[in-house]
């Protein structure tokens, strides 16, 4: 396995100034991304996963937000390069697929123009004819039938799934090394979801790009990710390989998440289990471990949960990291014997 990361994120923190106070959307997030691998980021709404992703490309409003830490690509810190350099990286080295394909495309230009625009901005000398051939090629790759005709159509003439293919075509036209997919299938039908995921994986195999896949759908993670970050309240609470997160999850929040997944063949009929309480307000996070008000183990683990922010550490006996004050042995025991029973 390649041990040099393509992208290294260290101590990334993002906060927004709002009229209600400072929102700490992302707090001290570190992770590494490797070529050809898919990193899944899971969490509830407001857990900071989308902000983490958009700050990698510096898409957050620079007036209202403050970003600290570093995002290293090829030895350069993307958070400190100048705007022109950042522009040349956007779309060229790192590309992004958004959640809602219905609103992600500019309604006033043909899809061909929009894909071409993404290419031309980084290849200004290419002739119009060559660009068109390339765009047609890309449309074929993302599975748009009859591309010669559809290249000159407008976004509203495409279905949701087809539009997401267009968005992917825009993202991949420059063969980026990193693709950030922010809930790429959330707005789509289940059958279309699978097609879009398959498409992304196929194209990943072809170009060896790294994918950051943001989702709240653990089924999607199970299907496509290699490793997973679980985020809660702007922090990473667990980092694990994808098979580990399902077999031996090592954080009470992950247990809750996994317990909340419905299953057709489950023996526990009736209620879908939920995590009690609501996600925390990012303006006034609970002290200590931000999950403690909703954690059923917080009481027995003791007052550390309410006073001290748990650090992400490798849990002994596993290859996962967890940010929980509980003793490692207890975490593993609970994970292995099923904490819900």
């Amino acid at each position: 396995m390649n041990t040099v990361p393509l992208l290294a994120v260290k101590d990334l923190s993002v906060s927004f100034n709002t009229p209600d106070g400072v929102v700490h959307a992302v707090d001290d997030v570190s992770f590494e991304l490797f070529a050809g691998k898919t990193l899944g980021i899971v969490g509830e709404s407001g857990s900071g996963k989308s902000v983490t992703a958009s700050s990698l490309m510096r898409l957050n409003n620079s007036v209202t937000s403050t970003t600290t830490g570093s995002v290293e690509l090829d030895g350069r810190d993307l958070l400190s390069v100048d705007e022109a350099t950042m522009r040349s990286i956007r779309g060229q080295d790192i590309a992004m697929v958004f959640q809602d394909p219905l609103s992600a495309l500019n309604p006033y230009y043909t899809v061909g123009d929009q894909i071409a625009e993404a290419y031309v901005i980084h290849h200004p000398t290419e002739s119009k004819k060559d660009v068109r051939i390339r765009v047609l090629d890309m449309l074929k790759k993302v599975g748009i039938p009859n591309p010669e005709k559809r290249i000159d159509e407008y976004p509203h003439q495409f279905s949701g799934g087809m539009r997401q293919r267009i968005v992917i075509a825009i993202a991949l036209i420059n063969s980026p090394r990193i693709l950030i997919a922010d809930e790429p299938t959330t707005a789509l039908d289940v059958t279309v979801q699978a097609q879009i995921l398959d498409l992304m994986l196929d194209l990943q195999r072809e170009t060896n790009m790294a994918i950051i896949l943001i989702t709240h759908d653990l089924g999607v993670i199970a299907e496509v990710a290699d490793s997973t970050l679980v985020m809660y309240g702007g922090r990473i609470v667990e980092r694990a390989a994808v098979n580990e997160i399902f077999s031996t999850p090592t954080h009470p929040y992950s247990w809750g998440l996994l317990g909340a997944v419905g299953s057709l063949d489950t023996s526990t009929r009736g209620h879908l289990s939920t995590i009690p309480g609501t996600p925390p307000s990012l303006i006034s996070l609970p002290s200590g471990c931000s999950f403690h008000p909703r954690c059923r183990y917080a009481k027995e683990t003791g007052s550390r949960c309410t006073t001290e922010v748990p650090q992400l550490h490798v849990v002994a006996g596993t290859s996962s990291s967890s940010a929980c004050h509980m003793a490692d042995a207890q975490l593993v025991a609970l994970a292995q014997h099923g904490e819900n029973q």
Binding site: G91, F98, H156
Partner: protein, 329 residues
């Protein structure tokens, strides 16, 4: 597209026919005898009766309307013998108080209104879209606050007030400009410009206020669109994004309203023309109202209606050109 335009134009024609009918009937039902107004106070009943016949007011109302309509296409002759006169097509009737064909009157006054409207339109679009964009791009900064203040003040000031204010400041107090006296731009361009600059600015400042707000809000809304974020993620320059993504989507509602506003102005800028003594259609309408000059009122109403209806058609077509989603249907 061609079918769409043809259909819209035919519909517009039918609409104008209906407007002409109702306008004619409405004015004909006013409790004033047009024939009695043809001559002075001490008019003899015989003359009134003769004029009534001459102008066709003795005929049934429907026939009068028919003659009016026919006159528009083939011209119209009034009276017989030595006292006969005619208004050639397109005739809109005869003004008994000004002793001229309405079409002649409109042909003389319309250019003034047209120059006034066109100049004001160009000024206010430039000012409104310019200030609106500036405000949106500098949101929260002093430029934004200044533009927002301007637009709030602008929409709440009445034309006659601003008009008199600038007239007083520039022509009487500062004496930078001569007192307005309208000259045709082809005969005396300098005098034309010095006369028009104040009415242009007055109309422009007031209308620009609304457009500033419209542009600012439209652009700010567009900036939050996902497709703008995707544009940034593509690596596009800010300038390209503003032009192709933000301004482009803010433009559609602006075009719609601008078209209708311009058309409404072409029907006569009554207050502005009165304040600056411009011999345009608006001032003529006011005079017609005061003098109960019904043919002129019917005529100017019809001209205004034509512009409103035409503007609607043009805006609909432009809408299709600007927004591909509309073109489809």
């Amino acid at each position: 597209m061609l079918l769409f335009i043809t259909r819209r134009l035919l519909f517009a024609l039918a609409l104008l026919l209906a407007v002409s009918f109702f306008t004619y009937m409405l004015f004909a039902m006013l409790p004033s005898d047009p024939a009695a107004l043809t001559c002075g106070k001490n008019c003899k009943p015989e003359i009134i009766a003769a004029n009534r016949v001459r102008l066709g007011y003795d005929k049934p109302l429907l026939e009068q309307y028919w003659l009016f309509l026919k006159g528009f296409f083939v011209g119209r002759d009034y009276g017989v013998g030595a006292a006969a006169f005619s208004c050639p097509a397109p005739s809109l009737g005869y003004s008994f108080s000004q002793h001229e064909c309405v079409s002649t009157l409109i042909a003389r006054t319309f250019p003034v209104t047209f120059y006034l409207s066109l100049g004001a339109f160009v000024l206010w679009m430039t000012l409104g879209i310019g200030l609106g964009s500036l405000a949106a791009l500098k949101k929260g900064k002093w430029q934004d606050r200044a533009a927002t203040t301007f637009s709030a003040v602008g929409v709440s000031l009445p034309t006659f007030y601003i008009g008199l204010l600038v007239l007083f400041s520039f022509c009487i107090w500062l004496r930078i400009l001569p007192f307005p006296s309208y000259e045709s731009p082809f005969e005396d361009p300098v005098s034309f410009l010095t006369t028009m600059i104040l009415p242009w600015s007055t109309l422009a400042v007031l209308s620009a206020a609304g457009y500033t707000r419209l542009t600012r809000n439209g652009m700010l809304e567009a900036m939050n669109e996902d497709f703008v974020r995707l544009g940034i993620a593509k690596g596009l320059r800010r300038r390209t994004i503003i032009r192709k993504y933000v301004l482009r989507s803010a433009l559609v509602p602006i075009v719609t309203i601008a078209g209708l506003d311009f058309a409404a102005l072409l029907g006569g800028a009554i207050i502005t023309e009165s304040v600056f003594s411009l011999p345009g259609m608006g001032r003529m309408s006011i005079r017609a109202v005061v003098e109960s000059d019904l043919p002129v009122l019917v005529g100017t109403t019809m001209v205004a209606a034509v512009f409103i209806v035409l503007a609607n058609v043009v805006v609909d077509i432009l809408y299709g050109v600007l927004d591909p989603r509309v073109r489809q249907r």
